[in-house]
Symmetry: C4
């Protein structure tokens, strides 16, 4: 809704987001092609050079564009669209890195020296890998975006890292063999003496195969280091793998623990309830009420939502209560004619509760308790005559119960038991009395409503 300055693009603009996504694709291409060129392509085919220049062109456009993209200030959390501040911020942070990872070094240097070391150019090309920080930024954003599943976001991040490591190590190890003076004394030459004349596909697959055999610590041993140079590289690669494997396992453990915590909490509750019932020889009906309560809470994720609501500030909780419960209370017979401010005060203290079928809410002869309002579902009024339970009536959607006991301070005349899955609003007796004391003029209306019903 906020209008930005002229020529300034919002970072949330869908077209800009699409552009960013397009660049990510190019980054993935660069990350794959850079080590590959270095290791396998002694003479770069002209087609590949063309593609590379086009890719560089896109990144050059992006560098220019960044000067026209607003940013969110980390202190005020507001969008800054002042062109000068945008430029200063970019120039003082990543500008140099972006330029270095985009500049076409080969043509520039050739301009001056007319002759260049092939290898050093290719190594300079590795500066392109700086672009990978875009991918890491993307993953950091995806992790916080709840539209994407955390488990799969995290997994695809780990898989990307692993694949990139495998690819790089495979390429580098091949390069070591390719440039070693005695081809037959290299990891690949020892089993494939004429490896240089093999097809590119065979050589690349073999390199990847060695790389992943080492990374997963399978280590068949059919391909292994043959000279100190390769051994040294292997040492560093295995050390890195140790860390990477531990990191992968650590992440997976974290995800598994998080993913099963709800089920485990549920099982612990159920187990504790069963144990408690068995130890105290509780009647089966009560045991089943306990179990079905925990099952319902598990299915509706009741526990998490309660924790979440407690974390909100009072203002938002008021808004929620007002939006959800005001119309329901307004329609209840007990509050016909009372002032809006009375209901507004009451509404803040209302507690919504879910009850599974056949659960006792109020017990006959129990002392005065809270008042319940049925939002959905149905509740049976049950009376016990000569020890037999009889359903006296059924109260449904919009009805209230418990109000006689609470307002007249008498023991409950009936047991109230849910007939089906019901959502109820609980109004605390104490809170109701406080509200009545604050609005004396509404007391008579309320009592009038009550007596008319009786």
């Amino acid at each position: 809704s906020n209008k930005l300055k002229k020529f300034i693009v919002s970072p949330y603009d869908p077209r800009y987001r699409f552009w960013e996504l397009f660049l990510i694709v190019l980054v993935v291409y660069s990350a794959w092609v850079c080590p590959f060129e270095l290791a396998f392509l002694r003479n770069l085919p002209s087609k590949l050079v063309l593609v590379e220049n086009i890719v560089n062109g896109f990144f050059a456009i992006d560098i220019v564009m960044t000067f026209f993209v607003a940013y969110v200030d980390s202190k005020t959390h507001l969008l800054v669209d002042d062109r000068k501040r945008v430029a200063v911020r970019y120039l003082s942070t990543w500008f140099i890195f972006d330029v270095c990872s985009t500049a076409p070094f080969q043509p520039i240097i050739l301009l001056f020296t007319h002759k260049g070391n092939d290898l050093s150019f290719k190594v300079l090309n590795l500066l392109r890998l700086w672009r990978l920080n875009r991918v890491s930024t993307l993953f950091a954003r995806l992790e916080k975006d709840i539209r994407f599943n955390y488990f799969w976001t995290r997994c695809s991040k780990l898989i990307s890292v692993t694949l990139f490591a495998v690819h790089c190590a495979g390429c580098f190890n091949y390069m070591l063999a390719d440039r070693y003076p005695y081809p037959e004394n290299t990891w690949i030459g020892a089993v494939m003496p004429t490896f240089r004349s093999e097809s590119l596909w065979t050589r690349y697959v073999t390199a990847l195969y060695w790389s992943i055999t080492t990374l997963t610590t399978t280590g068949y041993g059919d391909l292994h280091a043959e000279n100190p140079r390769e051994m040294l590289f292997d040492i560093f690669y295995m050390l890195f793998n140790l860390g990477l494997t531990a990191y992968l396992i650590g992440n997976m453990t974290n995800l598994v623990v998080h993913g099963t915590s709800r089920t485990q909490k549920f099982r612990d509750s159920i187990y504790a309830a069963s144990e408690f019932a068995a130890r105290n020889q509780l009647p089966v009906s009560i045991k089943e009420q306990m179990l079905s309560h925990f099952c319902l809470q598990f299915k509706t994720e009741g526990y998490n939502q309660k924790t979440m609501l407690n974390g909100l500030p009072k203002g938002i909780r008021s808004s929620i209560a007002y939006s959800l419960f005001f119309p329901i209370l307004r329609r209840a017979y007990l509050f016909h004619g009372v002032s809006n401010s009375f209901i507004a005060e009451l509404v803040m203290e209302v507690q919504p509760e879910y009850f599974p079928p056949k659960e006792d809410i109020i017990l006959q002869n129990e002392g005065a308790a809270d008042i319940y309002l049925i939002v959905s579902g149905a509740v049976n009024m049950i009376t016990t005559i000569n020890g037999n339970e009889q359903v006296y009536a059924k109260v449904t959607n919009g009805d209230m119960f418990g109000e006689v006991g609470a307002l007249c301070n008498i023991t409950q005349p009936f047991t109230f038991r849910t007939a089906e899955l019901s959502q109820l609003l609980r109004i605390s007796r104490t809170r109701l009395r406080e509200a009545i004391q604050n609005h004396r003029e509404d007391n008579d209306i309320l009592m009038n409503n009550l007596f008319q019903k009786l």
Copy 2:
């Protein structure tokens, strides 16, 4: 108890549950035989074809049957037995998949073309693996079923997944070797040149052996990929293994953490209590009380049950309190003749507590405290004369203590210390006073009871 419509079966019907279990057995058979056929059996023996057709028949019956099985609506949590809704739900979800995984493609296609590619039929057979979703559903249900140990349920799930992965990879790898044009250039042919003439048992065991050597990353290297095709398969298998191993370790860590958390919490409590006693030079008797309290709580799982009870809604907690404590309070001498509603009000606030032997409950000269009622066990009344403790009397099952101090507001005349493991009910002094104020007519009876005892 709920009667379903005619011809509609309940999903909880034990006969239907048995049918489901029977199908699971068939699924396991299918899952094992599908990859095995593909890899090892060039010409399917007629016996196996017959068995397969019978299995398919059972699944066809199940497809028809599913139209007559009620389901639980995810919103209302009620059983839906309307035949039309059942059919619509099935047709719009898994029907197509079930049909595809059951249809006998081979005969159907042969009907039209008279000639079929053997391999493509076998690959079509892999559609049978869709049936495995039944196993995954079963495990999801078992995990939430407290009749089964969570640790072993989870372990058997992981073992099943591992074994299936090992079996599939072994079969697929053998197939690669079997269909490779140069048998001596395959992973198995390199060490067993005439492998095709070996017994089925030897070939299958060798394939499994290679598969598990790779999965566990042991990688002896006696059998290893020999051509790019096998290398490529190995790469994917090893990547999958990396994930699977991390997943296995993550799950095991989760189970270990969960399994030892109670012991660790117990040890932390005991350690903190010992440290506290040492730092403050507490008398040995108090230190031992602290330690034996935590030991008892650990043995009776007191901590978990407290947490569980706090998670229940007020209605159920009332039912439990009423069921457990009403008869006990009714029998107590102090409440002879008082009204039921008085006890009903009091019963909600009663706290059951376990005490190990030799633990002080009330100290002599302490201010007025709560009232205790002995449910089981025995408590010594101890008085200190000239610094020597003397057991004045022993109160047991059904007796009360602390009521004189609480009702007359005087300091405690005796120390009360458990003689053996005792379960007590604690009635808060404040709550008792509130209940008396709400039932003025019961006050005199109560005081009369008290004075008669004194």
Copy 3:
């Protein structure tokens, strides 16, 4: 102190404990020797037979003895010393297993048949391994015994399990090779064709070496399965290893998480405090107070002890408060001459607190707050004159401060700041007033004490 019946031994008797420990040593010997005999010793040397019979004798004695050892009933938590109940319990549980694991099968069967299969006897010997359940019981007890470090108890358990698995697998794998018809076609024969004539030491070390190479998934491949029988054993061993390794890692993770949780909580507190101070530009002195508070809490394990105390029932907390604080309060000038019951009531509500040096406890001009009593350390009274802080006086061990503000309801005339590490007792103002209201007769004495001081 409890006297047991005649001829009945307590399970806590130190001599019985020593006997149990002695048996554990024999169990370890049995567990090592059983698989070893099976694999490596075709003809058992007579010395070993003798040792074995002696060991069996000890276990036979233990079976008899168990009939005279009292046990703890799991319901009442009391020691049962009734000889009949002890016997019934043992006969109905582990008696059969213990007898089977002790009986000398070889002599018994030879008595009847005069000829026995050597191998089957040795396999019967594996029944001895049932004795290992004693080791598992021992570890379960050690884990709950706080005299032993949990980390090392758990580690030694895991190491024992690992070593036993390595030993068993090594022996069993050797047995497979030893009894295979074609010695040169076995895992050991392939590299050591005349392995049967090698020394026992070489063969055992080689078997262990293969076993651990496989268990740790190193899998050099110098020794590997050569025939389907060995492959099959390898498959099961590797599957078992997968589980064992995951279990080891899970346990280690659990221990690491538990071991570092205190440091991490400490770091989180310190980090949050620093961030908070930086964000709100708090004065350096307040920031340092926050940091030194958390450091002190970390060093004194204050957090864990608070949690532990909250978990104790009221009775024990009263005992602790009474034992720790009554003498200190009794000596305080303010309570000279007041009744014991007044102090007894107050003592339950006293809060001990540690303060690092230079921490503000009460601020000048702050409203009436709580009363503090110095148990150890020293506190400076500081007054601010013309913006300069001046130390007015120093209060030490046994002194009180804050009482004037609390009892006369005036703002604090001084800032109180600790001069060194101090332990203080905090008496809540509200609680003190309540106690005074309950003991009107003590009010005058108290006020008199206060005015005499002023």
Copy 4:
């Protein structure tokens, strides 16, 4: 600031810290060179002997110096600078170990015997490794120092341990081969028959390569144990590796869990809020308020800081409240002219809260609520006329709202909604009333201020 006794150095002295750091560098050198000498250098070059003597000299200086360094007493947490106590403490703890790890055994023994076994001297040199405890002390300190990132501190500790293990095992394994009577029958001789004449570099890299191949369980198998002696060493090394790998993974898991817990808690909140909004069909505006609240809390680390503040004692919290809020309250129009002690009492109960833009703080027609004071940001007063929201006014920095409702006990006349990210102070209505009751004389001033504004 505290002056120490003459000639006594503080352990916090920056120059002493530098000296300690310098010794750490020497320790690292010793730890690397000790095993290396033992394995690879049959005849120690004189240069190396010189360097070693110099290093030993530095450690000898440190031993002397330790007698002059004060230490922190673990009970009183105070610095002890008494020279006698410092000396007693050092002599009774690590003195012997330090001397043994520094003494030049070779010259001493040669003095007496004139001839010494080369190997035994070198083994004695391993006593130098005792110095490593300095590194472990350093890491223990770094872990608690928040200037260093916990993740990287822990990682570098683990990497150091791993590298040291790899180096030691490589050296020791080489030594085994070097001193074995049949060179061709050793792990290195089997592939490199003339290994003794290879360059030092090749031999060291090969040893390291074998060591790390085993540690990471890659186990290519190109280098493997060839004789029982090497097998035995391998067995112990692999067992050690199993533990080390589990420890590495456990640590990494711990770090990953800790590192992602904030993001996961955030995602759980966001997910629960979205679910709750969807289930209850909340208006989009309220849903967005909920989400932006959690986002803000995540960005400002609000949750951790709240927990941290709750852990502080009352004294420090008072200091913080006084320092942060007193000047702000003093400037508020409502408190013009009221006494300082009134504000001082109020200030303790003030709650700072952050609100994202467009969040409702007070709702129109809501009952009397709390009072808010704007510290930064801006809040719109909104009134709803005929269902249309209209901005009536904007209150900013230093303004108050809600005070009319709270003090006059009327319903809120306006909705207050943040216009931008705002920091507010919330003053509880109940607390304000209590403060007014305690300072009756300030009541009139307050009410006067209020009416003047109206």
